[in-house]
């Protein structure tokens, strides 16, 4: 038996993963345990949980692998400061002390954190991404594309995966980066980098791409193969502490939007413009890689792969027949990729292709089992009251409540690894409801009213509702709502957020203003419980689509334990809660829900994203 512990840490979204003889035993993000969104600290809780899951002590782990090479990262920093001197002093003073005292000596740091005397292996950042994308994918052979802000030097790489071998061929290098370009616009539009990118993507359909030409002509030099040069005149990330420069602000008619201030048409147009550029760049990259590899399957990872509008376009309009994206495409997934890369590349172990894929539906985290005396004790200590139902009754009850217009939260089974809730830690609602979108945003999630919700649809019925070319089990592709489902709306005098209130289809709660939807197809194999819930909903209402959003409030990491779930339930206006096989009704709880003051205090715990 050979066990490998993969770790990603110290930048954002720390995580740990354990594989034993090539099988994924568990993977989890530190934020879910510490309740700090995107927690970058060493993932002690995730390591501790992964070891328990594998039934191993840290001394029994055979190999420990980190998802990046600190020396190469340091080389990039030093060369950047050298080539941009004397403009980079502020950045150097901010960055170098930590590098010189800690990050450069990661081998010692990790050994000390884990309290082991063991060699620590380091795998290239993009190789970790590539491994996380290819090895668990359902393909024996596939083209690989990884794109993010920046790894060591690489900001994007492509290659070929065949059997157990990954051949990474070429890279795009810092400072030219699709991810950093998108982050610059995220910051400029007043959202937080590394968490606000989804908001920018959700905002794009409200705007018109009026700035796209300006971006293409002045800010970047986009080439036919999808690579780009970023005109450093407009950026500050290489030498300063912000991403955009004064020239950028002048070019786009003003200073960056202050976080939490009113969102105007300008931000919507900027979001639409940068989205159009990203779509085009990814499409060109896809065509280039298809041309070079001749392969019809593509696997994706890296933060930019979470831009599901762009990957949806690549799926619909690009040359590949099938695209598979690692559900933990960001840095957290690097922990899993590093471990898998070590198993197949360093230890030269063969790979068997799993069906439907090797990610087990992304349900790789801590479990809330149907019955558990520990969860009973926790809920009792919190004063909760519940009924126990068997699985079939539970599915029928959830479906009935959703069809009655209620909002039901589910915390059951193993938690998802990656940023998307896929049914184990989810809040569910009726996609047919005209008021569900604003109710969920304002009364349940306490987040901006412009943000769209995603649909869960039975995989076998997906084409009846959406124009989708392939399955999307991890909610990572955006497809249009089918033409026949759409309703014509008169929107001439409406703009911005007002557009959202118009009813555009017979599933309005999940139809964005451009008739798009970030789809999750639910199949029996990966997700039998949710498949049962939606099947019941279908037999009760004739509709195979429900709303699925992550079980958390704004700024909060997705709930992990039964305790997190009950606290979130009581802090919000969720009607009913499922924890394992327990059904908790709001009206039967002995404690009244939080009042406004207590809720405000509760929400303050979570830094706004």
């Amino acid at each position: 038996m050979t066990s490998i512990l993969g770790i990603s840490a110290f930048y954002h979204d720390s995580a740990a993963a354990v594989i034993v003889d090539g099988q994924i035993i568990g993977a989890a993000q530190e934020e879910r345990f510490t309740r700090i969104k995107g927690d970058p600290s060493f993932p002690h809780h995730a390591v501790g949980w992964s070891l328990e899951q594998a039934g191993l002590d840290i001394e029994e782990i055979d190999h420990i692998v980190f998802y990046e090479r600190p020396l190469v990262h340091f080389e990039r920093l030093m060369m950047t400061y050298l080539l941009t001197a004397p403009r980079g002093l502020r950045s150097l003073l901010h960055t170098l002390p930590e590098w010189l005292t800690r990050k450069l000596w990661l081998e010692r740091e990790i050994s000390a954190e884990l309290d082991v005397k063991r060699k620590i292996h380091f795998i290239d950042h993009h190789r970790s991404h590539a491994a996380s994308a290819f090895y668990p994918s359902p393909f024996h052979e596939a083209a690989i594309l990884t794109i993010d802000g920046v790894g060591e030097w690489s900001t994007a790489t492509w290659g070929i995966g065949r059997g157990s071998a990954i051949d990474l061929r070429e890279e795009l290098r810092f400072p030219n980066s699709l991810g950093l370009l998108y982050s610059a616009f995220t910051y400029y539009c007043g959202f937080k980098i590394n968490s606000g990118e989804y908001k920018l993507m959700g905002l794009a359909p409200y705007g018109r791409p009026v700035y796209a030409d300006r971006i293409m002509q002045r800010v970047i030099h986009l080439m036919d193969d999808g690579t780009m040069l970023l005109n450093q005149k407009y950026f500050n990330y290489a030498t300063g502490l912000t991403t955009t420069s004064a020239a950028f602000h002048e070019l786009f008619d003003g200073p960056p939007r202050q976080p939490e201030s009113q969102i105007t048409q300008r931000e919507m147009d900027l979001a639409a413009s940068i989205q159009a550029v990203i779509n085009e760049a990814l499409l060109r990259m896809g065509r280039f890689i298809h041309n070079r590899t001749g392969l019809d399957q593509l696997v994706l990872a890296g933060g930019v792969a979470l831009n599901c509008v762009a990957t949806g376009k690549l799926s619909s309009e690009g040359p590949f027949k099938q695209i598979w994206t690692q559900p933990a495409a960001g840095d957290a997934g690097g922990a899993l990729g590093a471990a898998l890369s070590f198993w197949h590349r360093e230890l030269r172990q063969p790979r068997s292709v799993a069906s439907p894929d090797g990610m087990h539906g992304a349900f790789l985290g801590p479990d809330i089992p149907p019955e558990s005396s520990q969860d009973d004790a926790i809920l009792r200590a919190l004063g909760a009251v519940w009924d126990v139902l068997d699985e079939g009754d539970l599915q029928r009850r959830i479906a009935a409540d959703i069809s009655d217009g209620k909002v039901v939260a589910v915390a059951r089974g193993r938690m998802e690894f990656g940023p998307r809730s896929l049914g184990s830690r989810s809040i569910l609602g009726d996609a047919r409801s005209e008021s569900m979108q604003s109710r969920m945003n304002l009364k349940v999630k306490f987040r901006e009213s412009f943000r769209p919700f995603a649909p869960m649809v039975l995989a076998e019925d997906a084409e009846a509702y959406f124009d989708c070319r392939q399955e999307s089990p991890y909610m990572l592709l955006v497809f249009p709502v089918a033409e026949r489902r759409r309703k014509t709306v008169e929107q001439l005098d409406k703009f911005g957020i007002e557009l959202l209130k118009l009813i555009r289809s017979d599933i309005p709660a999940v139809t964005h203003v451009d008739y798009s939807a970030r789809l999750q197809t639910v199949d029996l194999q990966r997700n039998p419980f949710m498949h049962g819930v939606i099947s019941n909903f279908k037999s009760q209402t004739g509709c195979s689509v429900i709303v699925n959003t992550s079980f958390n409030v704004r700024g909060e990491p997705i709930v992990n334990t039964a305790e997190d779930a009950y606290r979130c339930f009581m802090a919000t206006e969720i009607d009913n809660l499922v924890v394992g096989n327990r059904y908790l009704e709001r009206t039967r709880q002995p404690h009244p829900p939080m009042d406004e003051a207590a809720r405000a205090k509760w929400l303050q715990r979570f830094e706004l994203d």
Binding site: L71, W99, L104, N176, H221, E563, R567
Partner: protein, 223 residues
């Protein structure tokens, strides 16, 4: 009538949760480390204050005898607490180390600024000249770049050797890591950077040792 649900109070539920073996060990380790650090702090600063204060009070004719006496007394108190009740030194140590950290940052800022302008800036100017327009930090106004691809061949890395994986001590000495870093830069052809790097690594090592030492404020003052 029951009270409103208080989500901030989690003590009862937390008592039910069990921590993993790994986390329990981590807790124990952190507790032991903290105890050791507090004892070290009490004894180190205690001896220093006692000896310095006592020497000056007894042997040096000074107008601030009261100060040396106070220092010696403080030293004796620290020695006593460090030996008997180190837990009481938690906040004094935090304050002391906070000051050391601040001082460290200030000294580091000055030294890094000197290295940056004195060494890195001239080297950077030389390196840019050597590379002509081919370095990756492009900026343009009207003449767009003529480049047609940004893809570059990825350097092939060899898989890590797993020989001695378990036997090899993960806590390699800082000196060997130091040498490895310099070798890496040399292998990648960054000869120009080596003197700068040597200086920076030495600065980093001093800061690394000093940040964890109770003597930090004195070392900076002497430095």
């Amino acid at each position: 009538m029951p009270n409103g649900f208080n989500a901030l109070n989690s003590t009862e539920a937390n008592q039910v949760l069990t921590r993993s073996r790994y986390l329990r060990r981590l807790d124990e380790r952190r507790e032991t480390d903290e105890f050791r650090q507090l004892t070290n702090f009490g004894l180190t600063i205690g001896w220093l204050f006692t000896l310095l204060g006592g020497f000056c009070w007894f042997c040096v004719i000074s107008q601030i005898d009261w100060f040396w006496r106070m220092m010696m007394t403080a030293g004796l108190v620290l020695l006593f607490l460090g030996t008997v009740l180190p837990q009481l030194l938690y906040w004094p140590r935090r304050l002391w180390m906070g000051l050391a950290h601040l001082q460290g940052r200030l000294v580091m800022t000055v030294l890094l600024t000197v290295v940056y302008f004195g060494l890195m800036s001239p080297l950077g100017w030389w390196e840019r000249r050597r590379r002509g327009g081919s370095h990756p930090f492009y900026s343009w106004d009207t003449n767009r770049p003529t480049l047609t691809t940004g893809w570059e061949t990825l350097p092939q890395t060899t898989p890590d050797s797993i020989a001695g994986d378990v036997q090899q001590n993960g806590s390699r000495s800082l000196v060997s890591l130091f040498a490895e870093t310099l070798m890496f830069f040399a292998e990648r052809g960054h000869y120009l950077l080596l003197p700068v790097l040597l200086l920076l690594l030495m600065l980093g090592m001093i800061l690394f040792f000093v940040q964890t030492s109770a003597l930090a404020p004195f070392i900076y003052t002497i430095g």
